[in-house]
Amino acid sequence: MAHINYSPNLSLCGGPTPGGPAPTGPLAPASTTTPVELHVCMGLNACKGHDRTGANNCAGTGYCATAERHNCQTLNNCRGQGGCGLYGDAEQQMNPGNNECAWQGSCAVPIQAERFSTLGDNVGKSVWLRARKLFEDRMHKANRSYGDAPFKCGPPQNWLISVLGSYDSCGNSGNKSCSFGFDSPKTNAKILCEGGKE
């Protein structure tokens, strides 16, 4: 079997070693595009123009996440870029979009409206509403106004599929938004949206 020899300077966390010599002199900007704050879902943007389309008018009204899309725990790139809800401990699950560092987010981005927490004080309740609560608290603390999210309770999974082409959050227990047995997806979604437990 072929062996790959790793550099002893490779970081613990793996990934490719940065190639080429160290940069010298002043670093010119790669582009003139203004960076945006990275956040995990609809209605969680802190500033105008900081959603995926760049078209939102004010805080809290954006249509989609600016953080990289991913579908499971530990796959977020950096601070504040993880969703949560399906995996992770109680503390992680209370902090969607509010993780401290890379790979500490405990679920997919963006956060579909149907997702509920599986541990912690928010167990059985909407993850998106929890994320929105954290966002609103932050805005109050910063003395900032914010608008309504395009969907009151976050983006429904079917809507995400329609705009993204596909959507997946991990887990083997089945699709929460599907029709099943004697359920009413609409009723379940309404309960979750009103802050009730699934």
Partner: protein
């Protein structure tokens, strides 16, 4: 895995052999993991309700039902089947994650009392396997979901000695896992032992770090109204740092109570009969009575299968084996060497290569957990656990298991066609290069052009293999 079990007829746990006894405990816990995971992955937790309902409805109409009655009845029984398949998976997974907790608790115990816990290469190497030291021995297969497999699971978790006297060969050192742990408690209780409490030198896996979560999306199932039901209690036990006699005994009690319930819990009747009449308070593992012990969880899966099969039988449409709707036909005790080592028209992936990769990821999990017990600096342990173990277990391994199980192959042993399945064999990492480098090489053998897992595999922590106690 121990080929020669530690205990002999006259054995007892003493301070002199305590380390070996706890190592045996670790290996008992490890032995359960591939067994439960294999059966778990043989379950399709989300069967096609429309297909099941349609088939039943057609048979009911043929049997003389009106279309309206047939449709209503088919919807009813198919909904029960949907709930059952998902529940069976959730309960088995809820037990599997607690077995991983038990492995960690036993490892903490060894780290505190007797030395470095050894985890790599300790999965059963011969199948069918036996629990190390359990007498009477009984065979355990990696097998698809069935009533007989559930009986095996209940044998593993049985709170009482197994009733089949024909299997008895010799005086019994321990008859249940609980009795085995009792021998360790006895030793800990009656001797003044030195506890290695300097966790900077002898780190343990401790609570409060997010290492262990009682529930996740895989331990829940949906009821008939599609409401989630949580199979583990959110207040269920967590990791414990072992620092003294009391914490050591508390850790052991978690392991025993979660497995077997409290004193007086139900057990097998004669000839492995399962009592499906009721759940009693002792069957729960916590005072709030919100979490069943492992034995009773498996008993519930067993009893509800029998009940659901009877419901289908009572429809008057002939014998319909309900397992056909949700159990994937995987082989018993498969080996990677029996998987085809090439891409074919039927199999767009190289099954042997993917299976080797799965085994390497599975084994690397133990490599990483072992490293968590090594003296570390800064947040290394946390990073290994969160970025390595969680990512490997929840995302990479689970994804690979899903990938391999869509392919079929003809087994060279019996000539039958099966779905391929993860074999959960220990991968023999060599010492010439790091385990991660070998894992990455295996990834590219399985997926030469890369795929969605490539960066995730490359991102794994690079941790060394322990050899003769040295990393």
């Amino acid at each position: 895995m121990m080929q020669n079990t530690f205990f002999r007829a006259e054995s007892e746990v003493t301070p002199a052999n305590l380390g070996e006894a706890i190592q045996q405990a670790i290996e008992i816990e490890i032995a359960t993991i591939p067994i439960y995971l294999y059966t778990y992955y043989s379950i399709n937790r989300v069967p096609n309700q429309a297909a099941v309902s349609g088939m039943i409805s057609q048979k009911l109409v043929s049997a003389g039902y009106s279309l309206q009655d047939a449709t209503a009845t088919a919807l009813d029984v198919s909904a029960d089947l949907m709930v059952y398949a998902n529940k069976a998976g959730a309960l088995i997974m809820s037990v599997a994650i607690e077995e991983m907790l038990h492995m960690a608790l036993s490892s903490n115990l060894k780290q505190a009392l007797a030395g470095f816990p050894e985890l790599v290469g300790k999965s059963p190497s011969v199948w069918p396997a036996c629990l190390p030291g359990h007498e009477p021995p009984f065979y355990i297969d990696r097998a698809k979901f069935s009533l007989s497999q559930l009986i095996t699971f209940m044998k593993i978790e049985s709170p009482h000695p197994l009733p089949d006297a024909k299997l008895l060969r010799a005086p019994i050192p321990y008859k249940t896992i609980g009795q085995f742990y009792d021998m360790i408690i006895e030793c800990i209780s009656t001797h003044k032992l030195e506890y290695r409490t300097d966790t900077s030198r002898y780190p343990q896996l401790v609570p409060g770090k997010g290492y262990y979560a009682q529930n996740n999306i895989d331990t829940i199932f949906y009821d008939r109204e599609h409401k989630p039901v949580f199979t583990n209690s959110p207040k269920s036990s967590d990791l414990i740092c072992i620092a003294d006699k009391d914490s050591a005994i508390s850790a052991i009690k978690i392991i025993v109570d979660q497995g077997e319930g409290n004193t007086g819990a139900q057990h097998f009747g004669p000839d492995y009969a399962v009592d499906c009449s009721k759940v009693i308070p002792e069957d729960y593992d916590n005072p709030e009575r919100t979490e069943l012990c492992h034995f009773e969880k498996f008993a519930q899966v067993y009893c509800e299968y029998v009940s659901l099969q009877a419901k289908f039988d009572s429809l008057g449409i002939g014998v319909i084996d309900i397992s056909q709707f949700f159990v994937i036909d995987v082989p018993k005790n498969p080996s990677t060497v029996n998987y085809p080592n090439k891409i074919t028209a039927e199999n767009p992936i190289n099954l042997a290569a993917v299976s080797n990769l799965i085994n390497a990821v599975y084994t690397y999990l133990f490599v990483m957990v072992e490293n968590c017990y090594k003296k570390q600096t800064g947040s290394t342990q946390y990073e290994i656990f969160m970025f390595g173990i969680h990512k490997s277990m929840i995302f990479i391994l689970n994804s690979l298991c899903g990938d391999i199980m869509v392919s079929t192959y003809k087994d060279p042993i019996d000539g039958k066609t099966y779905y391929a399945a993860p074999t959960f064999e220990d991968y023999p990492f060599g010492l010439a290069s790091s385990p991660k480098s070998q894992l990455v090489a295996l990834y590219y053998l399985a997926y030469p052009t890369g795929n969605y897992l490539e960066q995730r595999v490359l991102d794994l922590p690079d941790v060394p293999l322990q050899y003769n106690g040295i990393f």
